[in-house]
């Protein structure tokens, strides 16, 4: 299909990738393809794990406490392993490893609506009716995942989260969404033997080609590409990375999982899903997945914020982050894996009549760490009541540019949108100077 304007590297890259996929699957050889590519651990590959706090977390109660202010709330700050940096008293395990983490305390984003904020923080761009921007996981899948020839599963995996659009980077870079239990539904061909399956796939190829050749836009080809990825996945040994139960007991315990007789079965509460997801994320990093998003929801705390934080959200968050950082350190992966913690926005410094906090985007915090960054710092600051940034402000583009920098992806890459506009990755954001040193 022709386009009115010459497209840039994204499209060329996309085509190349497609050609490669078409050459390998589906063919009669498809089962041999599996044996040839046994899972191999690649510990030194760069990756990013995004911890997505759906609903908008109250960062004033977690990372940037305001004791003494009327907005301060019920929690006290405690010291951390990073000198001079204090965080919430309900985050002790995270505090203990904080020399590997940092906070950016002067985020100022303009979107305080869930949908718009989710879009802005994930893409770096404000929503625009003429173009769909890729979420940053798709950018990483495109830039890093596409270059990892041994990677048979998608380069962007979202555990327990929403989807997010790959935008102009195409369906090949869409997130693969899985549950925290790691079971991939329907990935088993059941009674159908492999040779029969490849016959079917050959037949499918014939039908799909007819439809693609009839020229009806991008969707028919996109469908075929997704099937290639799905077949790749069905036949891959790397699928074992989703199976957290293969981890040894000691590692599970690091994340607060598997206590009391080692039962990892049905008794698991939903609270452990986040820890389990982070452990899965580490396993996925080991097989070469460059971007994993893990969701922890339940932050839309318009009422009863302190009780909910103290008894539910923060214990879950704290144990899982503490476990992940310790695990990554022990395996020598902490300098290769960049961690980002954010939501679509944060919550009002003012405490409302329902002892809740509402939506707030003007002055808040994002946590970032690992990835060989200069960690153990708090960058930027808010004023005494937390209602404004007291220093230089940062936007999501700056966070994503920092991630790109840490992963060795040039920040001057420009993609081309479907309507021919150049799009800088991370919306032209700048890596945060204090963090990249």
């Amino acid at each position: 299909m022709l386009f009115p304007t010459p497209d840039g590297m994204s499209r060329r890259h996309f085509m190349r990738h497609m050609a490669a996929a078409a050459a390998t699957v589906p063919t009669m050889e498809f089962i041999r393809h599996v044996q040839a590519n046994a899972a191999t651990a690649k510990k030194n590959q760069k990756a990013c794990i995004l911890m997505w706090m759906g609903g908008g977390p109250p960062t004033i109660d977690i990372w940037d406490l305001k004791p003494g202010s009327k907005n301060g709330g019920e929690f006290r700050p405690i010291d951390t392993a990073a000198k001079g940096v204090q965080i919430s008293e309900h985050m002790p395990k995270t505090a203990a490893v904080f020399d590997n983490l940092s906070i950016v305390r002067s985020m100022s984003t303009r979107e305080a609506d869930h949908g718009r904020g989710r879009y802005y923080m994930h893409t770096g761009y404000v929503p625009n009716p003429t173009v769909v921007h890729p979420v940053f996981g798709s950018v990483i899948a495109h830039e890093a995942g596409g270059k990892r020839k041994d990677l048979e599963i998608p380069g962007f995996i979202s555990i327990g989260g929403g989807a997010g659009s790959p935008g102009y980077l195409g369906q090949m870079n869409a997130p693969f969404v899985v549950d925290s239990n790691g079971r991939i539904r329907n990935s088993d061909t059941g009674e159908i033997t492999e040779s029969r399956m490849s016959q079917r796939l050959n037949m499918l190829g014939v039908i799909e080609k007819n439809f693609i050749d009839s020229k009806r836009g991008d969707l028919p080809q996109s469908h075929k590409d997704v099937y290639s990825k799905a077949v790749n996945l069905m036949t891959s040994k790397q699928m074992e990375a989703f199976n957290v139960d293969k981890e040894d007991q000691k590692t599970k315990e690091l994340y607060g999982l598997g206590g009391g007789g080692g039962g990892m079965g049905m008794g698991m509460g939903a609270n452990n899903a986040f820890a389990r997801s982070l452990l899965m994320a580490r396993r996925l990093v080991e097989v070469g997945v460059p971007f994993i998003e893990v969701e922890l929801g339940g932050w839309d705390l318009h009422n009863n914020v302190f009780n909910t934080l103290k008894t539910q959200r923060l214990p879950v968050l704290d144990a899982a982050i503490g476990g992940l950082v310790t695990d990554l350190k022990q395996r020598g992966m902490i300098n290769d894996v960049t961690l980002v913690w954010m939501g679509e926005f944060a919550r009002t410094p003012r405490i409302n009549q329902d002892v809740g906090r509402d939506h707030w985007a003007a002055s808040w915090s994002v946590m970032i760490g690992g990835g060989g960054l200069k960690n153990g710092q708090a960058v930027g600051a808010t004023d005494a009541d937390g209602i404004a940034c007291a220093t230089k402000t940062y936007q999501p583009g700056d966070i994503w540019a920092t991630v790109a920098h840490a992963m060795g992806i040039p920040t001057n890459i420009v993609h081309t949108s479907k309507n021919g506009r150049p799009m800088k990755i991370a919306n032209g954001g700048t890596p945060i100077a204090e963090l990249i040193g």
Binding site: D113, R116, D188, E208, L219, H223, L233, M234, I387
Partner: protein
């Protein structure tokens, strides 16, 4: 400097301009580039055209709010200070840059305009546009600049390009002229269908003729040759999917193909509108819109479905349906309409406010909750005035009177607090009272939300009707008149203002008759076209960010419900599930649960994980539903085909018609034959046993159901 570099620079500067980050020096540079280079001018025009009024109003909003009123400028300064680094420079400079950019862009566009276009054409489009963008929730305060700015953006990007090329003095490009001469050969499409118009009762000849005339005019204005008319198989499949939510059976396709009546398409739509699957389809669509696929707490889904089923079955006027939903009170079991507000009344009714505006008025107001709209004139105050209509009710969970063992959820009347207080960005509190489109309603009104509904349907062309027409059009064509179906705010450009306007008025005049609107849409020339591109038609693609011309049918993905129901039809599996509505509904619900995920926010928003994803592919390849349907056990469609006495070719035909509503192609037939030979040569063992033919037919059916052609509505 080479052309691409200059172009990139222009684009970068434009990006800065758009985001209000441009410095005066950069702006001068942009002016220089645009003046100096023809290519840059083209880029400039195209870019501005793409961004349309979004850009304009953004710049104007910035300068306007720094006006003379002290309170207003206070708010806006706060906003500038805490929102982002891009707008954090001092306000005088921001004002300067904004006004500069406005004046400059007005000047350049207006200048190029007069050079390139005949003035009368512009006026025509402009009048239409103004006429069809009445302020809905707000009073418009138009400054002279704004008027000017609007008048300079009323033409599609394509026409602009072609014309720019043609008239630029130094650019007598021959290929531009060629394009033009090819395109002027545009034949009038489907004259046959035009002639077939009969005066069926309830049909409105002059309206459909008007819509067709306008469609053709826009195609001509844009040098866009429409695609050819879809053949029967393509059309009947699409009509079934759009109107009743699933594909036709093989039998229905064949019957339609052999129907010789001239107006058979119209008659089919009529039949479909009368069927129970029409009711089921639109109940599904509106249940999902009103409360989502993941059921919010306290909501009685099946009761809401009963309400909608009755509404679509009796074809109740849309304004009535909306009134009952908006003004609902009572028990969620007894009054299904109450479930919408029960789902969204949390958090001071903020979600109810935003979602009511989005669904019924196609207005995005949620960001005005905290600040004035950045791109249009919606003010924070209008959000909260709208919000205060929802302050006289609350959701109560209580033991049922007379039967205390059973609990019930009830939407009960509550004393209205009088004033609603909201926080300005500077921390001051302000009061708001019920007000819609400038009209206040007393908080003492006995039926406050009933009054709101009355105001929503006031006038000849209320936004309530425009919004529904826009939604319906988008549903049938895969693209709305506005780039986003539920964003029809004052800044949103309307692709076919005359059509939207006329359909809206007629919809109102016909008493909000939903079925009638569907008849009109299904009879337009645009709906008859194929989804294939014709020659040189590749520009008409909204997915590339272009304004839709509806010169071909855009391909849509099936929703998860359409896919499920279509699989049941294709494989004749519906019998196995029984004809009980609720039972099928439950199975469908269970099946689609795996593809929806709630974001757990106050607005109950959710992600659809079905559209074109790997889980979808895995489910279609290996899922239980497919495996069951392909088993040659008694009663399945495949079993009937295998056992039938027809020839091999007829069997292959039957499979193709069932899945794709068409004959198999030559390449498909030869692939099946090759498979049969292979199966005969290497007889597999175990669970795969079967005759060479039956196995090949199963594989063919599997491949058809898994194909792009099956899952895409075209």
């Amino acid at each position: 400097m080479s052309a691409p570099d200059a172009n990139t620079e222009v684009l970068e500067l434009l990006e800065l301009l758009l985001e209000e980050r441009i410095s005066p020096e950069q702006f001068q540079r942009l002016e220089q580039l645009v003046r100096a280079d023809r290519e840059a001018r083209r880029t400039y025009l195209r870019y501005l055209d793409l961004h349309g009024s979004l850009h304009w109003n953004a710049a104007l909003g910035g300068s306007k709010s720094n006006g003379e009123k002290p309170t207003q400028s206070r708010v806006s300064n706060d906003e500038a200070g805490d929102s982002s680094k891009y707008v954090s420079h001092t306000s005088p400079r921001r004002t300067l840059v904004s006004s500069l950019s406005v004046l400059m862009t007005v000047f350049v566009v207006a200048g190029i305009w007069t050079l390139f276009r005949g003035a009368d054409h512009v006026d025509l489009v402009q009048q239409e546009r103004n006429a069809t963008n009445p302020p809905a929730v707000v009073e418009e305060q138009q400054s002279p600049e704004q008027d000017k700015s609007r008048s300079s953006q009323s033409v599609g990007p394509i026409a602009l390009d072609l014309n720019a090329d043609k008239v630029t003095p130094e650019g007598n490009k021959s290929e531009a002229t060629d394009t033009r001469s090819v395109a002027t050969n545009t034949p009038t499409p489907n004259a046959a269908i035009d002639n077939e118009k009969t005066s069926k009762p309830g049909s409105n000849e002059s309206l459909v003729a008007f819509v067709n005339r306008e469609l053709h005019r826009v195609w001509e204005d844009n040098d866009q040759q429409p695609a050819s008319v879809a053949d029967d198989g393509e059309w009947v499949r699409r009509a079934y999917l759009d109107v009743v939510g699933h594909i036709p059976t093989a039998k229905q396709v064949r019957e339609f193909a052999s129907d010789k009546r001239a107006n058979k398409r119209e008659l089919l739509v009529e039949d479909l509108l009368d069927g129970k699957d029409y009711v089921r389809n639109w109940t599904t669509i509106w249940t999902n819109l009103l409360i989502g696929r993941t059921n919010p707490r306290q909501v009685n889904r099946s009761s809401l479905q009963r309400f909608l089923r009755e509404a679509f079955d009796r074809n109740r006027p849309w304004d009535q349906v909306v009134t009952e939903i908006v003004a609902a009170e009572g028990n969620t079991e007894e009054n299904g309409a109450a479930n919408f507000l029960v789902a969204h009344l949390n958090n001071q009714a903020v979600p109810a406010t935003a979602i009511t505006a989005k669904l019924f008025l196609c207005q995005q107001v949620q960001c005005t909750q905290c600040h004035d709209h950045p791109f249009n004139d919606l003010k924070q105050d209008s959000f909260w005035s709208f919000n205060s209509f929802f302050k006289d009710i609350k959701v109560v969970d209580r033991p049922k009177p007379g039967n205390p063992k059973v609990r019930e959820t009830v939407l009960v009347h509550n004393q209205h607090p009088g004033a609603i207080y909201y926080e300005l960005r500077n921390g001051l509190m302000k009061a708001a009272y019920p007000r819609y489109d400038g009209e206040p309603v007393s908080t003492d009104a006995a039926d406050l939300r009933g009054e709101l509904a009355k105001l929503m349907r006031q006038g000849e062309s209320p936004q309530l009707a425009r919004a529904f027409v826009n939604r319906m059009w988008q549903y049938f064509f895969g693209a709305a008149f506005t780039s986003q179906v539920d964003d029809m705010g004052p800044h949103a450009r309307v692709s076919h203002p005359t059509i939207l306007d006329r359909l809206t008025r007629e919809f109102v005049a016909n008493g909000y008759d939903v079925k009638q609107l569907i008849r009109w849409i299904a009879r337009t020339d645009a709906y008859q076209l194929t989804s294939r591109f014709g020659v040189g038609e590749y520009r008409d693609d909204p997915s590339l960010g272009f304004e839709p011309l509806f010169s071909r049918m855009y391909v849509k993905r099936m929703t998860v419900e359409q896919a499920f129901d279509s699989l049941l039809i294709a494989t004749d599996a519906r019998q196995a599930f029984g004809s009980n509505w609720d039972e099928v509904e439950q199975r469908r619900q269970k099946w689609l649960d795996q593809f929806v995920r709630s974001f757990e926010t106050d607005e109950n928003d959710e992600a659809d994980l079905f559209d074109g994803t790997i889980p979808q592919a895995l489910m279609m390849m290996n899922g239980e539903l497919i495996q069951q349907a392909l088993k040659p056990s008694k009663g399945t469609y495949i079993d009937q085909i295998i056992r039938s006495k027809s020839t091999d070719d007829q069997k292959i035909d039957a499979i193709a018609f069932a899945a794709l509503s068409r004959k198999p192609t030559a390449s498909e037939v030869s692939a099946v034959r090759a498979l049969m030979r292979e199966n005969a040569a290497h007889r597999p063992a175990g669970a795969d046993r079967g005759t060479p033919l039956s196995m090949a037919l199963q594989d063919l059916f599997w491949a058809y159901l898994n194909s792009n052609e099956f899952i895409l509505i075209h």
